[in-house]
Amino acid sequence: MSKLLEVTGLTTRFRTERGAVMAVDDVSFDVDAGETLAIVGESGSGKSVTALSLMRLIPNPPGEITAGTVMFEGRDLLKLSDAEMQAVRGDRIAMIFQEPMTSLNPSLTVGLQVGEPVQLHRGATWKAALEKAGELLMRVRIPDAKARVDAYPHQFSGGMRQRAMIAMALACQPKLIIADEPTTALDVTVQSQILSLLKELTRETGAALILITHDLGVVARYADRVSVMYAGRVVETGTARDIYKRPQHPYTRGLMACVPRLDGALGSRLVPIEGQPPDLSRLPPGCAFAPRCVDVTDKCLLSRPVLEDVGGGHHKACFVPANAAAGVPAHA
């Protein structure tokens, strides 16, 4: 059976004052129905641009998808007309954004915004759409949901707004939900509630989830598979278990070393990755991570590694064999 979503060679370029920048460079991944894929990386690694590229929401100009295919339910989304793509957005694929405070329209009621996709894609009357909105708000456990249909976003807390965004995403029972750092702007206590809710509801509806995050703790708890991005490229991909137990790429190992662990040895320090994320307009000819890599070799500086299978669907883009690496030890 073919995958729900198959992204191949996706490349998104931004024109900037300092020349063209490949924000997403030859990125490939796939998602099965009902599966949760986490895309992990630092700010500027291209993970959000990847998400927006799937939805074709890259502002053009300055951005442009220059290559690749995004096969979804047997169609290449990049080849659809604007009208066809509009029929996919919000109906088959829904998106949840990072900033719940600004992602809802301040001058329209929450109910209208949550029910809007039903009215738009299902041709429902506004009355029916608002009724549906009440049900959806109840489903995301907003207290007193029926009465809150007529409330405005400023009367909601951040957590409640993100719940409303989730309700909006679920409105048409999409096959795929893309959540772009859905909890980054929220209080720590609310974060896990929101993610658990999201996970639970996607399980109920059978929707697949692409979870974009920089939080490896989130990955371990919620993802089935993980793609790690660095400087616009996927550098490692595998099951969440493999990535967590046997990280192959020095960057992934570096990220792991930054995460506090309950089972870590007492007194062990968190090790930050030295250096800064690279300037995408001045990438080195070799591996983009080489300047910061503890295992760097001459070969890394000259040519760019591509993803290779290291067994069991686990891929990495690195020349240095994991067992030969001297760098940060993996948590095993």
Partner: protein
């Protein structure tokens, strides 16, 4: 909300008090005394005795503060704005008979301004840096640069030279012939409206560009809406809030514009009355018109503030 309106109306009192003092004093400081003009016009042999007689008859012999108290007292307690110093006609009756025409011209100009500014501004924003945007922006710069009195004069003069046609100068009352009246006012309204639309259009464009960058507009796109729905339902309303403020601020410019248009197109509104009164130093008419204009400007701005409540749900009047 009601308490808010009452409070705003009470705030009218100090505003109008200061405005009335300023107007009352300044008109009396305009060079050229009304007594001199009357004497010159009526060819009375000007001796000191007839001067004082005339001054006393018109009540202008009193100190200015006494004159002011008399004038304002009559307005407050009897609703009497006095009479013209030249013709004995009641100022308030004259104003009320002319006010609807001025109001109509101003309202038509405002409609023209909005009908031009909002669609052009929105179009310029959603098609930023295309030829349509350039045309829209060039038009607005042009209208900013061209004074409406010049445009009005051109429209009066050149059609007459080229085609022997000129706008009707005999005023057609709305009650006699509504269509003819609207057509007559259409030319000055369009001239005034387009010149007002320039700033409004630029404001609409700027705000629209700003709003289109907002996260909630991206959310709207992500829901699968087409461009029209995104723009009309999700962007326009938020973009219009500052535009509404601007319209309120433009109210005095609009009223000033109608004065000029009434003069050029010979429309018997308040503006024409004011200009005639100023040239004849008819103090009660000048001060009366200014007082009414002051009330109008404050009320327009109150309406603008109240309309925020319709556009922005965060605004609650207390």
């Amino acid at each position: 909300m009601r308490a808010y309106v009452i409070r705003r109306l009470l705030a009218l009192i100090p505003t109008l008090f200061f405005a009335s003092v300023i107007v009352f004093v300044t008109v009396r400081m305009i060079p050229g005394d009304i007594i001199d003009m009357m004497i010159a016009q009526n060819d009375i042999s000007a001796n000191a005795a007839s001067r004082t007689q005339l001054e006393a008859a018109l009540g202008l012999d009193q100190p200015m503060h006494i004159q002011y108290v008399r004038w304002i007292g009559k307005i407050l307690f009897q609703g009497d704005f006095g009479s013209s110093l030249w013709q004995e006609q009641s100022v308030i009756e004259e104003i009320l008979s002319r006010l609807p025409t001025t109001f109509q011209l101003g309202f038509m100009a405002l409609c023209v301004a909005l009908v031009v500014a909002v669609p052009v501004g929105v179009w310029s924003a959603i098609r930023q840096d295309t030829w349509g945007d350039y045309v829209g922006r060039s038009f607005s710069i042009l209208m900013l640069a061209v004074p409406s009195f010049w445009l009005g004069t051109i429209v009066m003069v050149f059609p007459a030279i080229w085609w022997g046609w000129s706008p009707e100068v005999r005023f057609i009352s709305f009650w006699q012939d509504p269509v003819g009246n609207m057509l007559q006012l259409a030319i000055p309204a369009v001239i005034l409206g387009t010149s007002l639309s320039a700033i409004t259009m630029r404001m609409t464009r700027t705000m629209m560009l700003e709003v289109l960058r907002q996260d909630y507009v991206r959310t709207a796109w992500a829901k699968g809406m087409n461009e029209r729905t995104v723009v009309v339902r999700h962007a326009l309303r938020n973009a219009l809030i500052p535009v509404v403020t601007l319209i309120g601020l433009q109210a005095p410019i609009l009223i000033g514009g109608t004065v000029i248009m009434e003069q050029i197109f010979v429309i018997p509104g308040m503006g024409l009355m004011l200009l005639e009164a100023v040239s004849r130093r008819d103090y009660p008419i000048i001060t009366g018109v200014f007082l009414i204009v002051g009330v109008a400007v404050v009320l327009i701005n109150l309406l603008v503030d109240l309309s925020y409540g319709l556009l922005d749900p965060k605004v609650r009047y207390r």
